[in-house]
């Protein structure tokens, strides 16, 4: 029954969000709540020689000032500090642990007071003296010190030789700057301590169970000592995958002072958290005269901290997209005196595919081929890294549908050939690709005899629409109206879920719902058949469906027993089933989502002002569970892609190792005036291999390819190839 799945169902939590009924981590309160304000390091590297909280403690209303020298015990080994998303290699950051300064903006003290303003004021009275050490924060000047990482992509053939012998070659470096997530909601934790000392930790996070496990190990607590909840998250985009330092500080203070404590970071302080690492992407393509590829090499050099090796898959996407007998991929890291980078929407791909797709555009120009034609000539039906077919891959259809909607055939290939008054018009396109992952998730359904169901799971909804799709799938599977489904998420005591990220939650949670609902169906079938003179007598369980609040025979809805009757006769008030999702082990196929992105820019020829006037994004991502929230996801990705192409950049002064635009007035993201027409097309992509519903996930794919499509359009408009992002007007005027 599909009354809801695949439809544009409105968010079930929408009303709570727009009316303010939805509460976020920093909005929970408690009797006698204390407020913590973070004091940050103002140097990038060294030691705290002296930290003097004397003056701060004199301020009326200040309760305590926690520092590395004054705090309750914290775990002393790396394993305890490794959360489920921590890089394999490294020693995770431990706030207030010792006197070492590892990055500018590092928390070095927490001032706790009766109210936030007092804490904030007293924070300016904490005196710190440093022993400064030499430091480096600049990827480009430290490029030579890059260390190599092993990547999963094996070399194929002899890329160097093939490149050297290629008829047409293109090689270039593309520079992607550091970017910060800037979710609307500030990072915040409210720890509510009950009379028995149990802590309820309201935290802004993408994974309550990850935070729960982390806190238990860092503070040496038993699972029952604390509970982590995060019912609503005002955006996180990857920044909340790992527990952030404010949750440690809030719990630290709550334990030390035996009080409830809230810590909210300022917008500026959030620039001391993770970020998308600056990356220099070197791509080399070698082609035969007919436009087929003979060699692909892609080498990324990215920023990481000195204490952890963070890296994502920037390179190697060409293995999935473009046929080439020879390939070589490598990823290098440069250790700098910065905090560890973290995942940010489509980590790795957003940057790596941007470089690859700009390079493909440059190759198309060199070959005098239409960019789509080049991509079709190189189209790969197999993932070459493992030489596997795909569960489904409708990328060809994405090119076709996208091109048609965009009007691509009317494009004059010559740069600077199209104009509209004072503006040069440019049309560019690029491919997007992401993984279709699925993870173990368990869901509990409690069905009550009045035909209402509560569906619960520890998964977070970071604004992506998890509440809604869980309700849709449950409503369809249980044959109930969606209004009868109550969804509970993001509580560490609920059935297991990993962090919400990687675009895996839709498929994973949907199939956990199906599993639990199936057990409910079997139970209801048993009960319905036991009803005296049951119309379902003789009907086998597989032929029983749940529809319109009844248990009915498939194909003959008239033969039905109401849920209420079945449960009454069975003397059951509630049926509770919990199930872990199950996906058949299948290494025989690659699983990916794809997109073709088309962008129109208009560039004021004299002034260099760039407008992205049209974007068409044609996406193949299996079955779309909710076409409304799905479309919003892709639109959000496109808007972010506009920002990545034209606006976003964390600017650092390397003489101080400090970020100089740590606020959203100066860190630019697109505003309404920068966003024009965005057309989202979901291409049909039936996939009965990947999972029962044929779902792949949509979180990341929306952004991948967008910056490249825009950069390529800017080239087409102006004849200028800007390889250092963002493309600001000064770069065009130069």
């Amino acid at each position: 029954m599909n009354a809801y799945v695949g439809t544009p169902t409105s968010r079930i939590d929408g009303r709570a969000k727009v009316t303010g009924a939805a509460k976020y981590a920093g909005e929970f309160s408690a009797d006698g709540l204390l407020y913590g304000f973070v004091v940050e390091a103002t140097i990038p590297r060294g030691r705290i020689a002296r930290i003097d909280a004397g003056d701060a403690l004199q301020v009326k209303g200040v309760v305590d000032v926690l520092t590395h020298a004054h705090r309750p015990p914290l775990a002393d080994n790396d394993d305890a500090w490794k959360d489920e998303v921590a890089p394999e290699k490294g020693s995770p950051f431990r706030p207030l642990y010792d006197d070492r300064i590892r990055f500018n903006g590092q928390p070095i003290a927490l001032v706790v007071a009766d109210d936030w303003e007092t804490a904030k004021f007293a924070a300016t009275r904490v005196r710190v003296e440093y022993d400064r050490e030499a430091f480096a924060t600049d990827l480009e000047s430290e490029h030579g010190k890059a260390g190599k990482l092993d990547r999963p992509h094996k070399p194929r053939g002899d890329a160097a030789a093939a490149l050297a012998g290629a008829a047409v070659r293109h090689q270039a470096d593309y520079v992607l700057p550091t970017e910060h997530h800037n979710p609307m909601e500030l990072y915040a934790t409210t720890v509510v301590r009950d009379g028995s000392g149990r802590l309820t930790v309201h935290d802004k996070t993408q994974g309550v169970q990850n935070v729960h496990k982390f806190l238990c190990s860092v503070f040496n607590k038993k699972p029952d000592d604390l509970r982590v909840v995060s019912p609503y998250v005002g955006g996180a985009f990857g920044s909340g995958l790992r527990p952030q330092y404010q949750v440690v500080l809030a719990v630290l203070a709550a334990l030390e002072l035996k009080r409830s404590v809230r810590v909210v970071l300022t917008r500026q302080q959030m620039y001391g958290l993770g970020y998308r690492p600056m990356t220099i992407e070197r791509v080399a393509l070698g082609a035969r005269p007919d436009g087929t590829l003979d060699a692909v090499t892609h080498e990324a050099t990215a920023v990481t901290s000195r204490y952890e090796d963070f890296s994502r898959n920037d390179t190697g996407w060409a293995e999935q997209l473009y046929k080439s007998p020879n390939s070589l991929f490598s990823h290098k890291l440069v250790d700098l005196d910065l905090s560890t980078p973290c995942d940010m929407r489509a980590p790795g791909a957003a940057s790596g595919v941007c470089a690859l797709e700009c390079a493909m555009d440059e190759l198309a120009v060199a070959l005098k081929l239409d960019p789509i034609e080049l991509r079709l000539k190189c189209y790969s039906d197999r993932d070459q890294s493992e030489d596997l077919p795909y569960t489904s891959k409708q990328l060809r259809e994405c090119y076709a549908r996208g091109a048609e909607a965009f009007g691509w055939t009317r494009r004059n290939p010559a740069p600077r050939s199209m104009r509209d008054g004072k503006e040069l018009v440019g049309w560019g396109m690029a491919t997007g690709v992401w993984e279709a992952l699925q993870m173990p998730v368990a869901v509990r359904i409690v069905l009550t005899s009045n035909g209402h169901a509560e569906v619960s799971c520890a998964a977070s909804d970071i604004g992506t629409g998890t509440y809604t799709i869980v309700a849709q799938v449950a409503a369809d599977a249980l044959g109930l109206p969606i209004e009868n489904i109550d969804v509970k998420l993001a509580d560490s005591t609920l059935p297991q879920a990993p962090v919400e990220g990687g675009s895996w939650m839709a498929a994973s949670s949907a199939h956990a719902v199906l599993g639990a609902a199936e057990d409910i169906r079997l139970e209801l079938a048993r009960l319905a058949k036991a009803v005296p003179a049951s119309p379902l007598g003789g009907v086998d369980a597989p032929d029983v469906i749940l529809v319109d609040g009844t248990i009915a025979k498939a194909g003959d809805k008239a033969r039905a027993v109401s849920i209420a009757d079945a449960m009454r006769h069975g003397k059951l008030e509630r049926i509770e089933k919990q199930k872990l999702n199950h996906f058949a082990e299948d290494k025989s196929h690659a699983r990916n989502t794809h997109s073709a992105v088309f962008a129109e820019v208009k560039v004021d020829e004299e002034l260099g002002v760039i407008r992205v006037t049209r974007v068409v994004s044609a996406v193949a991502a299996g079955r779309i569970l909710n076409t409304k929230t799905g479309r919003s996801q892709i639109m959000g990705g496109v808007v972010w892609g506009i920002g990545m192409a034209l606006h976003e950049e964390t600017v650092m002064d390397h003489r101080f190792g400090r970020i100089m635009n740590a606020n959203i007035a100066e860190y630019h993201i697109p505003v309404n005036a920068d966003v024009h027409d965005i057309d989202v097309i979901f291409v049909d992509e039936p996939d009965d291999r990947i999972n029962r519903l044929g779902v792949k996930g949509l979180g990341e794919i929306g952004i991948v390819g967008v910056p490249a499509a825009i950069a390529n359009a800017v080239y087409h408009a102006t004849g200028k190839r800007i390889r250092r992002f963002p493309i600001t007007l000064d770069k065009l005027l130069d």
């Binding site: 103002t42 500026q268 002002v609 407008r611 005036a673 024009h676 007007l729």
Partner: protein
Amino acid sequence: MNNFQYSRATDIADAIRLLTADPGAKLIAGGTNLIDLMKENVERPSRLIDISRLPLRDIEETAGGGLRIGALVPNSDLAYHPLVEQRYPLLAAAILAGASAQLRNMASVGGNLMQRTRCAYFYDTATPCNKREPGSGCSAIDGLNRNHAILGTSASCIATNPSDMSVALVALGALVHIAGPSGQRAIALIDFHRLPEDKPHVDTNLGTGEIIAAVELPKHGFARNYSYLKIRDRLSYAFALVSVAAALELDGNAISEARLALGGVAHKPWRSLEAEAALRGRAATPDHFSRAADLLLQGATSRAHNRFKIELARRAIVRTLIQAAGATPQSQAHKKIA
């Protein structure tokens, strides 16, 4: 943020008295700039003197046919006031090119004139800055200076004044009415803001204990041939890389009067009488506009990252004059540069 005393001024005299009594005191109007700077510990006033309830919210016609605008008139009210829309659309356009609707609702005329630079080092107390801490050095000169000044800079400071409204007011020849311990005075707005010289911590020529009471516009509003063009890193809600206020009086295609001012390029709104004189009596053609641009930009210098501003300003001046001459002013609502 520091702790501070709070007083609500009962009238202008009270505000002046409070200001004079406490050298660490600051006036607060809309608070949209001051509070931000206090949160960053850049401004640490000992006392806030709240003037927001003083009766300085009127917009009245003057005997000479001009307009007197109270210092507390919110930026939005000013931009949408019928007399301003009809007679001084250049001012309305400049205001609407700035900030966001929410900020413009809070921001006052006086506060807008007094807003401080957006130089990133000025905002970051962990870095040297002569404007914030006299004598500590200028981090921008050899640092990140993409947004910095190309005109009127000094060896101590290369910051810009971020106001859009002031650029139009300077072009229109506005006066600032000031009330202070020794009475009232009025000065031309062009003389209100200072160049940095060796005292970049002093933004304006407002004296101790003085308060802006009003801004006065002369009669001539250039309501037909004007344009305000702001070039920035996104199409709205960003400070100007370069902005241009242009106003012309045309007799056929001949220019009988011209006003031209630049924002985002100097420590104060930049106007050159020489450039305007070069337009007067000439035909409204791109060549003459170019010539005026060169004069206006005379002496422009650049640092490592702001060289583009000189050429950008030159082109923006020409474009704005073309818009003004054609009576096709830049719209602040369209997502497009005309």
